[in-house]
C-alpha cells in the first residue's frame, strides 16, 4: 500500500483550473521531487496534501485513510490526525519571529502533543545539533541567515515526528551558498530514509537525491518516473524545453 495516494485531484481558483486530474503515489522512504515552471500548480498540489489549499475534486489517501474522497473532506478529527503525520517546510521559512530558535522547535510539541519538558527539551537540542545549529538555540530568528532559518524550520518540522516532510521550494529564497547548506541537511534526511516530497528548481538535487521525479506543467503531470527517465532522457517536448531552460540558467 502506498503511503500517499492521490487520485484525479482537481482544483480551481475561480475560473482558473490550477490542478487538472492529478494522480500519483508516494511510497514510504520515497524522495519525490516535483519540478515544473512557475504557475504549473506544483506548490498548490503540495499545499493541498497538508490542507493549506482545499481541492475541488478527486481523492487523497494518507496511510490508508481518506483525507478527501471524491472531493468530500473527512471529518475535522480525522483530517487533523492525518495532518499530524505530515510536516511542512516553506519557501519563506515562516519561523515565529518573537520566539527563540529553541522555542520555535518546542512550541508545537508543548501545545499540541502536551509533551513534558524532559521529552522535548532533549529532542530540540538533538535536532538542532543535527542541522548544525545547536549554538544558535537561544538566538532570535532575526539573527540568523536565510540558510540557518531554513535549517531551523526543518528541525521544527521534525520535532513533531512526521512520517513525511513536504518541502515547498525550500531554497528558492536563498543564494547558492546558503542553498547548499540546506540541501545538505535534506540529503542527510534522505539517507536516513525520511519520506519527502520536494517542490524544487534544484535539478541537481532532483537528479541525485530523489528516487522519483514528477514534471508538472499547466496543472497536469506531464511526465513521471525515475530521475534518469525524467531528467536525463525526457520523452515529452515540454519536459525537454523546461529542462533545457533550467539547466542552462
Amino acid at each position: 500500500m502506498s503511503f500517499i495516494e492521490v487520485r484525479n485531484l482537481q482544483k480551481s481558483f475561480g475560473p482558473l483550473e490550477v490542478l487538472k486530474d492529478i494522480s500519483f503515489d508516494v511510497q514510504k522512504n520515497d524522495v519525490m521531487a516535483i519540478i515544473g515552471p512557475s504557475g504549473s500548480g506544483k506548490s498548490t498540489m503540495l499545499r493541498s496534501l497538508i490542507q493549506l489549499e482545499q481541492v475541488g475534486g478527486g481523492s487523497i489517501i494518507v496511510d490508508g485513510d481518506y483525507l478527501v474522497k471524491d472531493g468530500i473532506y473527512t471529518n475535522p478529527t480525522d483530517s487533523k490526525m492525518i495532518n499530524s503525520k505530515m510536516g511542512m517546510v516553506f519557501q519563506q521559512f515562516n519561523l515565529f519571529p518573537h520566539l527563540t530558535v529553541k522555542q520555535n522547535l518546542e512550541l508545537a510539541p508543548k501545545l499540541v502533543k502536551k509533551e513534558k519538558v524532559e521529552d522535548y527539551g532533549h529532542r530540540s537540542i538533538e535536532l538542532l545539533e543535527k542541522v548544525g545549529l545547536a549554538s544558535k538555540a537561544d538566538e532570535l530568528p532575526s539573527r540568523l541567515s536565510g540558510g540557518q532559518k531554513q535549517r531551523v524550520a526543518i528541525a521544527r518540522a521534525l520535532m513533531m515526528n512526521p512520517d513525511i516532510l513536504l518541502f515547498d521550494e525550500p531554497t528558492s529564497a536563498l543564494d547558492p551558498q546558503l542553498t547548499k547548506e540546506v540541501l545538505e541537511v535534506m540529503r542527510n534526511l534522505a539517507e536516513e530514509h525520511m519520506t519527502m516530497i520536494v517542490v524544487t528548481h534544484e535539478m541537481e538535487f532532483a537528479s541525485n537525491v530523489a528516487n522519483h521525479v514528477i514534471f508538472m506543467d499547466d496543472g497536469k503531470i506531464v511526465e513521471a518516473g525515475t530521475p534518469d527517465e525524467v531528467i536525463k532522457s525526457p520523452k515529452e517536448l515540454r519536459t525537454k524545453r523546461f529542462l533545457n531552460y533550467e539547466l542552462n540558467k
Binding site: 499530524s84 511542512m88 516553506f90 519571529p97 518573537h98 508545537a108 501545545l111 499540541v112 532575526s142
Partner: protein, 219 residues
C-alpha cells in the same frame, strides 16, 4: 512669588490631576481590551456582528469626542423612556464616553496590526497542528502587540491630553483648577504648571512604552 502661594496653586491642581490620571488609567485599561474585542468582531464571519462593530467604530471615530462627552453626560438622561435610568455620575458618564471612543481607535490600530502579520505565520501554525486559539494567543497576539506598540503609545499620549475635555462637562480635573486660579488671581502661572504636569505624565508614558518596545523587540 512665595513658596506658600505657589503651593496654594499647586495643591488643588494636583487634586485635579488625580481625576485626570484616574480617568486616563480607567480608560486605557478598559479601552485596549475592548478595542481588541471590537477588532475580533469586525473580523467575525458572522456578518451582523461585523457590520455592527464597523458601524460603531465609524460613528465613534467620525464624530467629535466632545460631542460624545456632552451626549453621555447631559444627553443620556434626556432620552425618552430609558433616560431616567441613565442619570449617571458625571465622571462615570464621561469615563464611559472615553472608553468607547478610544476603544474604536484601538480597534483600528489592532486591525492594522493583524493585517501586517504574514499569512505564513498562520500556515506554519496550522501545519504544526496548533489550534486556532493557540495560534492566536501564542503566535499572532505577541507579534501584533509588538507591531502596534508605537501607535498605542501615541494614542495614550492623546488620551492624556483629551482628559482636559472633562472641563467642558464640568468634571473638576487638572485644567479646571488651573483655570480657576487664573480667573481668581489674574496670573497665567497655573497654565504653565498644568502644562508641566501634562508633560510629566506624557514623559512617564514615553518611558514606559520605550521600555516595553525594547523588551518585546525581536527584529
Amino acid at each position: 512669588m512665595s513658596y506658600e502661594y505657589f503651593m496654594s496653586m499647586l495643591i488643588p491642581m494636583l487634586e485635579g490631576a488625580k481625576a485626570t490620571v484616574l480617568l486616563f488609567v480607567i480608560a486605557i485599561v478598559l479601552s485596549i481590551p475592548l478595542g481588541f474585542l471590537l477588532t475580533l468582531a469586525v473580523r467575525s464571519s458572522i456578518k451582523p456582528i461585523s457590520y455592527l462593530a464597523q458601524t460603531f467604530i465609524y460613528v465613534m471615530r467620525g464624530t467629535p469626542l466632545l460631542l460624545q462627552l456632552l451626549f453621555f453626560v447631559f444627553g443620556l438622561p434626556l432620552l425618552p423612556v430609558i433616560g431616567e435610568y441613565l442619570v449617571l455620575d458625571r465622571f462615570v458618564a464621561a469615563t464611559l464616553a472615553f472608553i468607547l471612543n478610544y476603544s474604536a481607535y484601538f480597534a483600528e490600530i489592532f486591525r492594522g496590526g493583524l493585517i501586517s502579520i504574514d499569512k505564513g505565520q498562520y500556515e506554519a501554525s496550522k501545519v504544526l497542528g496548533l489550534s486556532k486559539w493557540q495560534t492566536t494567543v501564542r503566535v499572532i497576539l505577541p507579534q501584533m502587540f509588538r507591531v502596534t506598540l508605537p501607535p498605542i503609545a501615541n494614542e495614550s499620549v492623546s488620551l492624556v491630553k483629551d482628559t482636559a475635555l472633562l472641563y467642558a462637562v464640568a468634571v473638576p480635573e487638572l485644567l479646571h483648577y488651573a483655570q480657576t486660579v487664573v480667573n481668581r488671581d489674574f496670573t497665567i502661572i497655573p497654565f504653565f504648571i498644568a502644562a508641566g504636569i501634562y508633560l510629566l505624565i506624557a514623559f512617564g508614558l514615553t518611558i514606559v512604552f520605550k521600555y516595553l518596545e525594547r523588551k518585546l523587540q525581536y527584529e
